[in-house]
Amino acid sequence: MHIKSMAEYAANGESPEVLFWVGCAGSFDQRAQRITKAFAQILDKVGVKFAILGKEEMCTGDPARRAGNEFLFQMMAYNNIQTLNMYGVQKIVTACPHCFNILKNEYPPLGGTYEVIHHTTFLQQLINDGRVRLKEGGDFKGKKITYHDSCYLGRGNNIYEAPREVLKALDVELVEMKRCRTNGLCCGAGGAQMFKEDEPGNTRINFERSSEALETGATVIAANCPFCTTMLMDGVKNKEKEDSVMVLDIAEMVARSLAD
C-alpha cells in the first residue's frame, strides 16, 4: 500500500479528501506507529482519498507551549501554517488529541483555519455512513472493555460520545471507570509531563489511572491518544497485567474488526 504525500497530490494537480496529520508520536514512537498504520489501513481499505505531509510535517508546538515556551510554539506554528496554507489544506484528521486541539483551537488566531477532526469522530462518521463495514462477531464482541477519556478530547473539546459510539458499533460490553467523561482522570502525560520525570509524590499518575481501569475487570482498555496509550500500558505492566489486559487505540480495534 502506497501512502501519498501532499507533495505528490500537488504534483499531479490533485487534492485529497483529507490530510492525515500523523503527529510526532504517531510518526516516531514504535507503539504509536501501530496506531498510525491501523488508521491508514482503515482509510485505504474504505477508499478515503487521504494524504500525509510526510517529511514536511513538524511538531505542532504543543509540548513547548504547555511547558511555557511560547516562542518555540509560535515558530513551529508559523512553519506548519505556511506549509498547510501553501497546499490549500481544508480538512485535517489526526489520531492525536493534542495535535487535534492545537490545530483546531490554537492555529486559527495565527492564520491557520481548517476543519479539524479527531480520528475517533472520523471513524464514527465512516461507520455511520456505511463506508467502514465491521465484521459480524468481531474480535471484541461481548468483551468487557473500558474507555479512557483523554483530557484534550474530553474536557478540552467536549468529545465524549463519538469514541463510545465506535465501541458500541464493535458490540463491546462497555464498562465505565468511576472517573469518566467530564470527571475523567488524566493519564499523566499532558502539559509536557511526557517529556520529564514526575515531580515527587506518592505514586505516578498513570499507575493511579491504570489501577482504576484494571478495577473494572476489562480485558481491553480503549484509548484515543498515543500518549495515553503509552502511559496506560506502562501502568498495566507495573501491575503485571500485560498478559491479560491490552491497551488499544480505537483505530486499532476498528482495524482488527473490518469486514472482508
Binding site: 501512502i3 486541539n101 475523567g184 514526575d198 515531580e199
Partner: protein, 442 residues
Amino acid sequence: MQVIQQIFFILCVGVAVYFFSKKVGEIRRNIKLGKDEDLSNEPGARWRNMVLMALGQKKMFKKPIPAVLHFAVYAGFIIINIEILEIILDGVLGKHRLFAPMLGGLYSFLVGFFEVLAVLVWLACAVFLVRRNVLKVKRLNQHELDGWPKNDANLILSTEIVLMTLFLMMNTADLVLQTRGVAHYTITEPFWISQNFTGLFEGLSTGTLIAIERTGWWLHIIGVLGFMVYLPYSKHLHIVLAFPNAYYTRLQPKGEMDNMKAIQNEVLYMMQPELAPPADAAAAPQGFGAKDVKDLSWKNLLDAYSCTECGRCTAACPANITGKKLSPRKIMMDTRDRLEEVGRNINKNKGQFVDDGKTLVHDYITTEELRACTTCQACVEACPVGIEPLDIIHELRRYLVMEESNSPQEWNMMFGNIENNMAPWKFSPDERDKWAEEMANA
C-alpha cells in the same frame, strides 16, 4: 430612650456600610491592577452561565449531598435577608414589626417560611461543621487550609448558627409577649417554628422576655452587619462574586490556551523582516508571562477573590491525588493572599506600590508546584463558579521558561529537539514517514 436606640441603630448601619464599602473599593482597585482582557463577547452565553452556575448552582450538584445542604444555606441566606429590610426599617423608625399590620395573614406566613429556612440553615451549617471537624472530609482538611482558612470556615458556619438561633429566640419571646398583650408587640398569627418553643419561655417575667427579645433583635442585626463587614475579608465573598465570575468565565473550549500576540509578532518579524515596524526605542521592554499578580489578567484576580476554598479542584487534580505538591486551590489562595499583600502595600504608601522584593512565583507558588501540572483541565471543570486555576499556571510557566529560562533539564532537551529535529524526541526528520515506507514494503 427610644430615640437613643434609633440613633444608635442608624450609627451601627452607617459604620457597617462605611467599612464594607471601603473594603469593596479596595478589592475593586486590586482586581483592576490586573492586565486588561476583553470578556464582553457573547453576552447571551455569559448570562446563561451566570444563571446556571451561580444562581442555579448547576455544577454543585455533581456532589448531591453537599449540594442540597449548600442550597438550603444559600436559599435561606438570600430569602431570610428580606426580613432584614423590616428589621432595618423598624430600627430606623423605632417601630416593631412594621409590615405585620400591612400584610396581615401573609406576614405570619412569610415569617413562618423564614423560620423554616432558618432551621434548614441551622441544620446544614451543623452538618458542615461536622464534615469539616469530625468526619474530616479530605478536601476540607488539606495543608493549605491550616490556620486562618480553617478558622474562617468554622467562624462563618458558627456565626450562621448563632444568627439563626437569635432569630428564632427573638420570635419565640415575641409570641409569648403578644399573648400577654404587652404594648408595642403587634399581634400576629403564631409562627410555624417558634410557636413550638413558647413553653420554654412562659415561666419568665415580662421584663425578662422583653430583654430576651430585644437582645435577640440587637445581636441578630449587629451580627448581620458585622458579617457584612467581615465578608470582603473572608473566603465567603463568593456569595457575591460567584455571579460576576460565572458571567466572565471563559467561553472557548477548555483545551484552548490564550495566544500571545507579542510573541506571535516577534516570530512573524523574524521570519518576514519586511513586515516589521520601525524599531521603537522608547517602547518599554515587555515581560512575558506572569511573575506577580499585576502580570495576570483582571479575570485571574477576580477568580482569586471568588474562590471559597471548597477544594473540588484539588480533589480532581491528578497531581494532587498522587501526592504532588500542586494544589489548584492553593494557586487561587496564594494569588489572593499576594494580591491582598500588594493592596496593603499600596494603602500604606499613599496609593503607590513600593517594591517589597516579593513575587507570586517563588515566594508564594514554587516551581515544583507549577511543574507538576498536566494541564488536564480537571480543576477548571470542577469549579462550581467558573474559576480557572490552569490559566494562572500557564502564565506563571510562561514567565519561568521565557524570562528565567527556568525549566527542568529534560524540558530543555525537548525544546532543543523540537527546534532542531521538529519533534520532541531526538529522531531524524527524515524518518518521519518511515512508517509509511514500511507499509509500502509490507
